[in-house]
Subunit: 346 residues, 4 copies
């Protein structure tokens, strides 16, 4: 059994880690922290977790972080807080999977520009491996520090990577129109996430190059060999979970849809958590509750535009599920262990 | 491995059986039928099931029902259709778990009165065991035909049984005000279940003694030793799944809430899928995705009224999960096998 | 034109007053206050009101309250704050319609017990008229201070008044199972009203005699000539607006539904904003956007229980619309002026 | 008073016409037809309309269509049915406003290609005026037959017209990613519009050049002087009403957002039902219940892309409200008469 700690267990991604790990046959939760609910059990915060067993929440500083007690730690903290605790955890010989944006950028100035804060653990940046298994599986296996990808980024990159890699679309003006469930905004109540604001609504936010996932998408896609610029339009929709990203790119040549399908098949055909559709469209709901990303590449011949949809559950493949997928890789387990693939018909 | 057939696999409860069984370590689906989608694979009907493996749908009459191919059959059919196929399946030596109302009534005239149709397999009625494990566990273990309870009935009975059994409430006028998710109405589109009708709405239907679960609640509670009459008020709410039943009974004496808690603890304290709250209230959502029924007994001293809430997922503890719980009992497996207990914080 | 002030215009009931009054042919908004948004225009807070004209928000103390500038003031403040400002406004010769609970109780100790705070304007209590036009129309016409009823109270009283008045139900144990839209909880974000908590959920709160509308219902129904005790079960449902109250009372004799219909017809048949159904059931949505209360009285003969549904829009007939109805009465206008009666099919 | 007939009054756009006209001071409904509900009153179909007065539904052929009884007729029929009745109505001397797609195309072969049916009243095509007042106000004033625009078209054209007119964007590959409420799919229940399918979901349909509004957008924008090609991606969202269209166009030069704002101001600054935002973004909900279209033009400098959002209520500005706006113009009334401009804060 691999013993893990969860830092920030009372947030949505932390609670999702607990839920998913309760069904993982090879992982045991050895510690769970929460600054707001220290002293309480997690199922007092979330009654739905009442059957997950008693998980006591402690403050971070009241927890003993040692390689005799556990092997790995998930950081499910707000952006900016992971960099404060990662050095000590790594120093204690623990492997770290960070769900925040803190270690996603090899170039920390990019982080500082988009997250509007200084980076205080720059020395770790070169150590971090970007935790998207579909692209960086081998590096993840050997990583001590994994930077788990952003939810929009996972969707956008899986939608666009083959097209950019092949050079089939104009990389200077990609468009990602992304609809997201409200859990992405976290558990702290805000005027933007109150029910009366969200119900029967669609709410754009951080548009036209202001969302911090913009440079992350561009950084990852650059690995495909082209400088990329993307217009990201995030929009809150009345759903608790899920992302449906609709990606658009101007085709550089006349490409048939069949060629596109073959291209995606070559790139992702054997991926355990990517499903490719060649007809029909994924909806936001088809991946809820699973670690899947469902991708449909298509062509609009009239405008010579590639239209690619990607659907995923922002809390699973977009966060905690992918983090467990990374854990599985880092510890030589079957990559799919403990990760749900079957969604719900209703 | 126990091999099972699912008759009516393309309905909501059938698809939920498939989803749940895909995670059951001791059960294998040997056959699945659908009259509407025969010839197709189930994941063409429900893309969310795409990772459940290829499940081919065949017509009932095109399927070979034999004890060499399988041990048990789930009937996930509309009311009235189970009685047509059950005799042959039982005759072939298969155990049958029927999710419809067809075999729930020991007295078939009651069935005929409330379901407005003749009963064509009356001879099986004495054979059928009512599949509520919390009350009839031992009989279920030895049953060849289990009548899986109605969703409202499971909630209402678990909410009221201890009170009726003890004779603490006036049994002649119990009230169950029950809110249900829309999946209870099935997958056939109707004016009553279109999104534009349900969103931001609460819709009463089959009120004041017209819903067919009324006599079923009364029949089961009568096992507690008292003739019971119940006013059931079903109401559709904007949720895909879930039931929250609020049960009211006039207390016959001054009972303190603490006594009520002790009473429920005695009856259900060791049940694997009943959770008792002594403070706070279950909401409809706290059981979504699980086989739990969460019950909170309380007293309103000012009116001397017992107020008991029961929450369950209508497709799991209210249908397919409970059916699997029954299967586990019928085949001597751990009763909880393959049944989710941990819900989702979001 | 009647000129009015709105104190607390940036809350939901305040904004709804502005919206409704923008279509009122005889009322002009002369002042609007908000402590949180003083200095801003109301349509900066609520873009949907952008076409209501520029309404500048000022602090209460920066506003000139004088009978040369206006005739009446609506208080759309949190409970406890109206009593602080009402004396001065009345002293300035202005008529006051208070939407809070502050002046609803003739007996201020009842207020102090249920609202858990002292009452600081007790001398005004005898002056206040309870603003339910269906019961107290004549007194309202001559009132200087109107206490606008609570939303649950309006629904519960219109559902139960004829039954209690006639002595047909046991008044010692009435039950009101009430589902309410989330706007009733106000515009301040709370963990209870975040989208992720409410979507696909039903959440009981302040049950078994703890909600402050309990004594208010009992106080008003006592005017019907009987001491009444009610069990109120409020439940949040996934809707922005609307209340559906399901009221239950044990019948003292065998009453036929037809008699019940005639009784309600006698009491409310000529009311402009009460609609009586004799078949079918009102849903929560059928009154959204209108000042109607739709009532359906019914009998469950099997349990000898009266089951009465009442539907209203909590922000209109349950708050701001009823306040305008009261204003119309106080100033001798047509009672229906400016109040919407036609809802939306979708 | 102008007397009007409504053909197809029991559909959503027909019912919305009734609702809106009930508050119109200069229009009276003289006839209303429904083939499915002939003989019933409209408020039996839609209880929310109970206060709109008794509106008897008759078959089309049982109704007397004569200029002595009325002046104008709204056709709220499915596509393909308007062309069957329009000739007779026009022949009877009545003005006709058609809400279907039947008369929107000057070139009927385009209609036949996209609607997959022959056009049987081609002779009327040259007579029809396209009913978008912001572009064709003067022609509408004198029209006898107005083709009311499609809902997506109204949003897309108001979002893109100034950009195309000025030649600032590449017209060969415009993108409109459009989210729509479910009422756009009509009142007939379908698997696509059942609550269990739509709740917490976003569902793409008729993508990549297959939606019949594609050629309509292109035809209207061509009036701006450029051949246009558009990729339209309609998506159902969990809302009863509303459209939020996000339009993208590659800028041909470096344009600052301020220039864009000035451009839109020049085109639409004095329009009664277009509101322009220069900061913040319209959400889908901000126009619900109103005849407004709220437009926000913006620039993403990093990709040199114009991003323009347009929000409208698909049943009002996208259908019945715009039809009334056209009626007002055709009869010389104030264009805004009877049309709501103020939305709801909740």
């Amino acid at each position: 059994m691999i013993r893990v700690g969860i830092v920030g267990a009372s947030g949505y991604t932390g609670a999702e880690l607990v839920r998913l790990l309760s069904a993982h046959p090879q992982v045991k939760i050895a510690a769970a922290t929460s600054e707001s609910f220290a002293g309480q059990a997690l199922n007092e915060v979330y009654p739905a977790l009442m059957a997950a067993g008693e998980i006591k929440l402690a403050r971070f500083t009241d927890t003993h972080w040692s390689s005799t007690d556990m092997e790995a730690v998930f950081l499910a903290l707000p952006h900016g807080e992971a960099q404060a605790v990662a050095p000590a955890l790594l120093g204690a010989g623990l492997k770290v999977i960070d769900l925040s944006g803190d270690f996603r950028f090899a170039e920390t100035p990019v982080y500082e520009q988009w997250y509007h804060r200084p980076h205080t653990a720059k020395e770790l940046a070169p150590l971090a491996v970007y935790g998207l298994p579909e692209l960086f599986r081998d590096q993840i296996r050997n990583a001590r520090l994994v930077a788990n990808p952003g939810c929009f980024v996972t969707a956008a990159v899986l939608a666009l990577w083959p097209l950019v890699h092949e050079g089939w679309v104009d990389p200077s003006a990609l468009i990602v129109d992304a609809k997201t469930g409200v859990s992405g905004a976290g558990r702290t109540p805000k005027p933007e996430t109150i029910f009366t604001k969200i119900s029967e609504n669609v709410v754009p936010y951080k548009t036209t190059g202001t969302h911090q996932h913009t440079p992350e998408i561009e950084m990852v896609l650059k690995h495909a060999g082209h400088d990329v610029r993307v217009t990201l339009t995030p929009q809150l929709v009345p759903a608790r979970r899920g992302i449906l990203a609709m990606a658009y790119g101007r085709l550089q040549a006349e490409i048939e849809e069949q060629e596109l399908n073959q291209l995606y098949q070559r790139h992702f055909g054997s991926e355990p958590f990517v499903r490719l559709l060649t007809s029909g469209w994924p909806d936001l709901g088809c991946t809820q509750g699973t670690n899947l990303c469902v991708v449909r590449p298509a062509v609009d011949l009239r405008t010579r535009t590639a239209v690619v949809a990607a659907s995923l559950d922002n809390l699973i493949k977009g966060a905690s599920g992918q983090a467990i997928q990374n854990l599985n890789l880092m510890f030589g387990l079957d990559e799919t262990l403990g990760l749900p693939g079957v969604g719900s018909a209703v």
